[in-house]
Symmetry: C2
Subunit: 225 residues, 2 copies
């Protein structure tokens, strides 16, 4: 390690990032950006062949695999799966995810003619549900409010948004802020403890309303920082 690296701490540039649900727009967009930043990325999917095809389309060091293999391979594991099936997938992968940092970016939303709305989650939020299931992992919430369209657009060099990072473990939230910061234009901002994750997930419903009204792909910036 060089003197510029933090003493004893993990070094994001030497870590493998797994993205579960990596063939969906959010997961693929994040995988694209992490790979562009020079990280090793394993893109997981229920369908490994589809994961391999998606990975082949992305520049950088990205390979496709099953979600289970991705969970095993990642030092940091990003969960970008649909809300429907979130609990079941994490329960099945809990042994593989033990001892790792798991970054949940799932937004439990419903949709009807009036647009998107926040679903009630028994544990409080998707992130808290992950933490309740993955008792041997360190769960962090992040990347909830970032436009998948912007992330996955190869012609867009920067993604102009902050990422609120939620968690109860300072070293883990620091590392995930650093992970967010590998994406040009993105700033990782500590956004509070896990118990305050719900509203950050649910705010995506508001951003969808903004997108409809203003024909935009809205994101957030935190002012005065």
């Amino acid at each position: 390690m060089t003197g510029a690296e933090r003493s004893g701490g993990p070094v994001i540039s030497q870590m493998t990032v797994a993205v579960l649900g990596g063939t969906g727009p959010q997961g693929r967009g994040l995988a694209r950006r992490f790979a562009a930043a020079g990280l090793d990325v394993v893109l997981g999917s229920r369908d490994p062949a589809r994961a391999a095809a998606t990975a082949a389309d992305l520049p950088g060091r990205v390979r496709g695999s099953s979600n289970a293999d991705a969970a095993s391979a990642g030092d940091i594991v990003v969960v970008a799966v649909p809300w429907d099936g979130h609990a079941e997938l994490l329960a099945a992968l809990a042994p593989a995810l033990a001892g790792k940092i798991v970054v949940d970016c799932v937004n439990p939303l419903g949709f009807d003619q009036q647009g998107a709305y926040a679903l009630t989650v028994e544990e409080g939020s998707a992130t808290q549900q992950a933490a309740a299931i993955l008792t041997a992992s360190t769960v962090v919430g992040a990347f909830h409010n970032v436009s998948a369209v912007h992330l996955d657009d190869p012609d867009r060099s920067t993604v102009d948004t902050d990422v609120l990072v939620l968690g109860d473990d300072r070293a883990a939230t620091d590392l995930v802020q650093e992970l967010a910061g590998t994406i040009p234009g993105v700033r990782g901002v500590y956004g509070g403890r896990l118990r305050n994750a719900h509203q950050v997930e649910a705010l995506t419903a508001n951003l969808i309303s903004v997108n409809r009204r203003y024909k935009a792909h809205a994101g957030l910036r935190i002012t005065d920082l």
Copy 2:
């Protein structure tokens, strides 16, 4: 009316804005800014003498009164009272508020050693509670995430933040966006329907976490608009 004014619609510059709970930091800060923008402001309080004293300290056309008199006087009525007592106050003022636009900016939060957290509200949010009580008013949610410190700082010429405006009535949300825009630096942004108000109120808990971590007075900007 001049040609520059909207045909038949309300003109914000000719309206009286009442601020209930106007002696608290958020209410006083909003009253200060609306008066600085040239609006007629009536600052309401449970204690009319305190309201008069606060009003006398503010520049512009601001007068103090009881909350009931303020509710009667305002064309637009901003509710900036503590969450504790919110329902009771609105129930008592419902007749005075009938036919008016009521702007709720109350954040139902709890506090403990770990900071702020969102309280559960039976109606879903403070704004929805207001709408449930004030069935003859048009209720809009706004100004939840604006720093009271910045609003109430006479040495700060602009407040660098967006205000998410929530509501089910387009004319009312348009008008409240215009009201927000009277504050230099502030942009009123439509943020969705009333059913999506909870997370905007609750997000104030996250901004309080941000403020603690970064020694800031954080606000929000919506990107890509």
